[in-house]
Symmetry: C2
Subunit: 395 residues, 2 copies
């Protein structure tokens, strides 16, 4: 049969990262490429004990259908944390559970965009979000990033140049892949621009809990009096990535449509793990556990930055994250990124080439992403040495 695949999917390929992820089953590979949280960050023993209680005492609820918006107690706990920790108001917003932060991004695009609409993003941006927009027939257009976040003037130009721009997608805190954080001043400026021009903002904040240096900066959603921000969060980097439990807070009118869209995607998020998250929060709270996870990443990030400082030639630039999982490195123009990535993989170090994060697909990149989350300390030291040596040889 000749398959007439839909226009929105026909040219889409599997995410380069997920494909690299498959190759990471080789235990000899140093996995600087993965976006996985550190396995030791998951509170396995506590979860095991709470899980056993749910199976013993509440299995018929945990194994049965739930409502689309999510498990009520957990929604309330999330609403409350969003309010106290991130300044996100209850009034005018609905909070729901989704099957990972990824689903919140995808649903928001589905609800807002017609085919041919434009989603503006930082350049580079998270590949999973870019592909979610494309899979809904939206066009992605990138706006240059600076160390303190998106270039505001170029954002204005991009809006003017794209009359069908409907959404601005941002990862303001501990950006993936760039590792940078948007300044408060820019957050306010970007919010005002979008309010004026009628764009909806998706504020994606999967790493926001993982600050290990510097001071908190208010979320964009915290000053959302006009109701133009959909905030996406996740438990993936805190409690478990494999359980696929995330959440979002959205202006009521958008929220109602997201509920409908989620209902037809997967009815509701895994009920058992929603209850497990709620029980964890009830019994232990999140603060102590998150402090431990952040400390873990602080020490691994410091180690990696120290090794980069020691080994990397000066012509290579890299970001110095204050939280999250990623460092973004930029090679000098004369080094071919593809050659470098291939050579690194041949020497058993996997990194993600910057091209994977390009909003516009044909773009050339000289950057690549590494993570310090899953590699061991020994692997961080050895892996940085390997990639530094390769670059030196290519200079």
């Amino acid at each position: 049969m000749q398959y007439n695949i839909s226009e929105k999917l026909v040219n889409m390929k599997p995410s380069a990262i997920r494909e690299i992820f498959k190759s990471l089953t080789d235990p000899e590979i140093i996995a600087f490429a993965a976006g996985n949280p550190a396995p030791e960050s998951f509170p396995s023993e506590k979860l095991a004990e709470l899980a056993s209680d749910i199976f013993t005492n509440r299995s018929s609820q945990a194994l049965q259908y739930g409502i689309t918006e999510g498990y009520l107690l957990l929604r309330e706990q999330v609403t409350s944390r969003l309010e106290t920790r991130f300044g996100i108001k209850r009034e005018g917003n609905g909070v729901m559970m989704v099957s990972g932060g990824q689903q919140g991004i995808e649903l928001t695009c589905k609800v807002m965009c017609n085919e041919g609409d434009v989603v503006l993003t930082e350049d580079p941006s998270f590949i999973g979000a870019l592909n979610a927009f494309r899979s809904n027939g939206a066009k992605t257009v990138g706006v240059e990033m600076e160390d303190d976040g998106i270039n505001v003037e170029k954002l204005k130009t991009a809006i003017d140049n794209n009359p069908r721009a409907k959404i601005l997608y941002l990862i303001p805190t501990f950006h993936n892949p760039a590792g940078t954080t948007m300044s408060l001043e820019k957050r306010r400026a970007v919010y005002e621009i979008c309010r004026e021009k009628g764009l909806l903002i998706i504020e994606d904040n999967p790493y926001g809990e993982l600050r290990f240096a510097g001071e908190d900066i208010p979320t964009i959603k915290s000053f959302d009096d006009a109701g133009i921000v959909v905030y996406c969060g996740s438990f993936s980097k805190i409690l478990s990535a494999g359980m696929r439990v995330g959440f979002l807070s959205a202006p009521e009118a958008v929220f109602q449509k997201i509920v409908v869209a989620k209902q037809v995607e997967d009815v509701h998020t895994n009920q058992f793990f929603q209850m497990l998250c709620a029980d964890f929060i009830t019994k232990y709270g999140l603060d102590e556990h998150i402090a431990g996870v952040s400390e873990l990443y602080r020490s691994k990030c410091e180690l990696m930055l120290g090794e980069l400082d020691k080994n990397m030639p000066e012509c290579v630039k890299y970001t110095r994250p204050e939280g999250g999982l990623f460092i973004w490195l930029t090679l000098p123009d004369h080094i071919c990124l593809n050659d470098f990535v291939k050579e690194a993989l041949a020497k058993k170090v996997a990194v993600v080439p910057g091209t994977a994060f390009s909003p516009e697909e044909s773009e050339i990149s000289h950057s690549f992403r590494v993570t310090y989350s899953t590699p061991s300390c020994e692997q961080i030291v050895r892996g940085v040495k390997i990639i530094s040596d390769i670059i030196k040889e290519m200079m």
Copy 2:
């Protein structure tokens, strides 16, 4: 802000059934409306014991990201069962895990349909599927059902009348809501028509394992030499609905695109519960457990049919299912369905009005769906008496 919701979502409302489901928290209500499996059908104790083993010995795998296609062992087990139990060939087909059967249906539509394309369905059909198609901008067009399945002549006419018809969505076995099963003759005829006309078939079979009377009929997918059938299945009615684990088998070219589309919806299905399903199958197999579940439904269905035979006035027609969860009743024309449904709810019996299952939204219905799965035996007896009495009074 004025929200410009996408054209595909702007007129969609939450599923009437999920809304009714919310009202079912009232313990006095007899829940003939729910589509939930019986809680006693879930093997809670066995799952609890296996879950404990996963938490103890394999938690870092179970809590970490997995690959989009699903947990390898489970995929192999499902592939093997589809082959031996349902005659579905490995060759030329990919099998993947999805977050409930619902997601398989939604993804297939997303991959195949452009906005404005038409999905043909049985009339009535499963509301969750209808809304999944609509949420992707497809138009749903219904084709009349008979006791042995879709009316084949009217299917031909519908294809001719809808040049943009791209998918035929069917629930051939223990239909939801109709409770009927399509004959082998019609399955073959429908397959040939779709092959000739270039339509893809979605064969949705969430209830196929739950036969308690009559003889198995081959799946449409079992004679899919042309590669035009996407088969959707689920563990929701067997092991747990709340865990959201389903699967699909699709022709390789379509399969590859479904993987991409799933990746951007939720990355992958809950990893822990995929492992739990696999462990259950490894340790216990499915046959013995399913035999027990089917026996449970046989006895409850017989009870309900017996009570209907005893109490219902003759002018009310109803189907006699050989498996699955649902009975479909049709009132005489002069009784107003809405009045009946309201009166039943006032007397604490919830049923789903047929209008909820209409592919064309404005349609009038005289039918309603009841389930025998979740109500107790006492509730079945009392509930049937109540709705029979209401109908007698309305005659």
